[in-house]
């Protein structure tokens, strides 16, 4: 499946360094990323490969903004053509990007306690298109909000159905779900909106074969819509099915 990829990469990682300093361990230094560079174009999926502990997930967290980087740049070409260095973006810029342009599917679901699975995912749709932001919106009138929530839930339910998540679970908080069920909630949260940059950290680790195939389809659809994808896939079948290139993380 060769396509002509656009010249300017969506993601341009230049010489990223990341070292953890453990102050509670006498300032022990743990260097994790030592000058990592990579580019990902629209519609391309790049797989990070290598043994555990080489910084693959760390790079993902740096791209999402959960980790700071010590040196280097993480250039993202945004939907509107602007370039922004994620390493230096202000918190509110990162939050805005997370709402609309960057999605992250991690291995673990950090869901809010007491929130139903469908609302964990619907929330992302509501955050991307907030209702009632106007200063004169009536805080007591739930009509427009309820309408937006209903339509968001509708969208979520069809994705849940596609991921074979049992309907009996949709309204329940995911804390008690099995690993594979939680992972599907996480996947739904990542794929419910089209993203410019999609970060996938072991998205199929706890899934059975049928659900792995659904995720492979979702990844192909995201590529067709022009997402740039960075993924960690220990499952070689999935990796071979979706990755256009591999980047080896071998040593520090």
């Amino acid at each position: 499946m060769k396509r002509d990829l656009p010249a300017v990469p969506v993601l341009d990682v230049q010489g990223v360094h990341k070292c953890f300093t453990l102050h509670l361990r006498d300032g022990l230094q743990l260097p994790v990323l030592d000058g990592v560079s990579l580019q990902v174009r629209a519609g391309e999926c790049v797989a990070l490969v290598g043994p555990s502990g080489r910084g693959k997930s760390t790079l993902m967290k740096c791209l999402y903004g959960s980790y700071a980087v010590d040196a280097g740049a993480l250039w993202l070409q945004r939907e509107n053509g602007e370039r922004i260095d994620l390493a230096r973006a202000a918190p509110r810029e990162l939050l805005a990007l997370r709402r609309r342009e960057i999605a992250y599917v991690s291995q673990f679901l950090r869901a809010l306690p007491r929130q139903g699975a469908q609302d964990v995912v619907a929330e992302r749709l509501l955050q991307a298109e907030p209702v009632g932001v106007e200063p004169d919106a009536d805080p007591l009138d739930d009509g427009p909000f309820q309408a937006a929530l209903d339509s968001a839930r509708e969208q979520v339910r069809s994705l849940f159905a596609r991921l074979n998540l049992p309907p009996g679970l949709w309204g329940l908080p995911p804390a008690t779900f099995s690993g594979g069920e939680q992972q599907r909630v996480n996947i739904a949260r990542g794929f419910i909106l089209p993203s410019r940059l999609l970060l996938l950290d072991e998205p199929t680790a706890s899934l059975d074969a049928a659900n792995r195939r659904v995720v492979i389809e979702l990844i192909h659809e995201a590529k067709q819509r022009g997402s740039a994808i960075v993924g960690i896939f220990h499952d070689e079948e999935v990796r071979d099915a979706v990755a256009d290139r591999q980047i080896a993380f071998t040593s520090h």
Binding site: Q127, G132, V133, P139, L140
Partner: protein, 264 residues
């Protein structure tokens, strides 16, 4: 990125020494922060870190020894909270801000009914029609998940969690542009705390509140705040995206705080 709008709140170089404090003791020192509309910022730290003093300075309740608090009003102009007169400060507190106290009885009027507590701030803004006040109070009680049948009851008969809900309704009824909260869930039973936190989170998301929340509970910050600021011995030692502060803490003290939390 697109042009950055001016922040709602701009706190510049705040320092404060309480009268009679021993030599060299600053309750707050060199504290600066910005808050944009729609943002929730948590201020975390242990007792005595200066976080509540800083909140009270922002609220105009304590005049700082150093620094300025600039607030952008509804009209778009920026005012220096501590340079204007007391009357103007009180008007801000009544019309543009809300303040949720840790102890609900300090933020409520305990001698009037629940409904009157909600209606009072609306009356302060000129609403005089009894039926409107009453109807609005009912709807706000429902909004904060209080039984509207208790409209005429005194908050003295309310539990701690109910009082806190009432205090929140009393504050939000005038649609404040900035909400300041001082340990809003502390001192309540754990299950009550959890439900109150759910409610605050729902209101923040639903009403797009801009808020400064002081808390010693990192879980509260994790759940509510876009950004988190860590204070120790009166100084801000770290601030940033909430998940970054907790997942990749840089300062030794933040690392200690984060590592001290027992995961449930």
């Amino acid at each position: 990125m697109s042009a950055t709008p001016a922040p709602l709140l701009h706190v510049q170089g705040i320092g404060h020494r309480f009268a009679g404090a021993h030599d060299g003791h600053w309750a707050v020192q060199d504290a600066s922060l910005e808050l944009h509309a729609g943002e929730v910022l948590a201020i975390v730290g242990e007792s005595g870190s200066g976080k509540s003093t800083l909140l009270n300075i922002v609220a105009g309740r304590i005049a700082p020894s150093e620094g300025r608090v600039l607030y952008r009003r509804r009209e778009g102009d920026e005012i220096d909270v501590h340079a204007v007169g007391e009357r103007q400060r009180r008007e801000l507190a009544r019309t543009e801000w809300g303040f949720v106290e840790q102890h609900a009885h300090e933020g409520l009027r305990m001698n009037v009914s629940a409904g009157a507590n909600v209606g009072e701030r609306l009356m302060g803004q000129g609403e005089r029609r009894y039926a409107t006040l009453r109807e609005t109070a009912v709807r706000w009680m429902e909004r904060v998940e209080l039984d509207a049948a208790r409209l005429d009851d005194s908050p003295r008969g309310f539990s701690g969690g109910m009082r806190q809900r009432l205090q929140i309704a009393r504050n939000l009824v005038t649609r404040p542009r900035l909400v300041l909260m001082d340990e809003p869930t502390s001192g309540l039973d754990v299950s009550v705390q959890a439900r109150l936190l759910d409610l605050i989170r729902l209101l923040v998301g639903r009403l797009h509140l801009s808020a400064l929340v002081v808390t010693h509970d990192l879980g509260v910050a994790r759940l509510l705040a876009h950004r988190t600021l860590v204070m120790r011995h009166g100084r801000i030692v770290e601030q940033g995206l909430t998940d970054r502060v907790f997942d990749d803490p840089q300062h030794p003290y933040t690392q200690l705080l984060v590592s001290s939390v027992v995961a449930a």
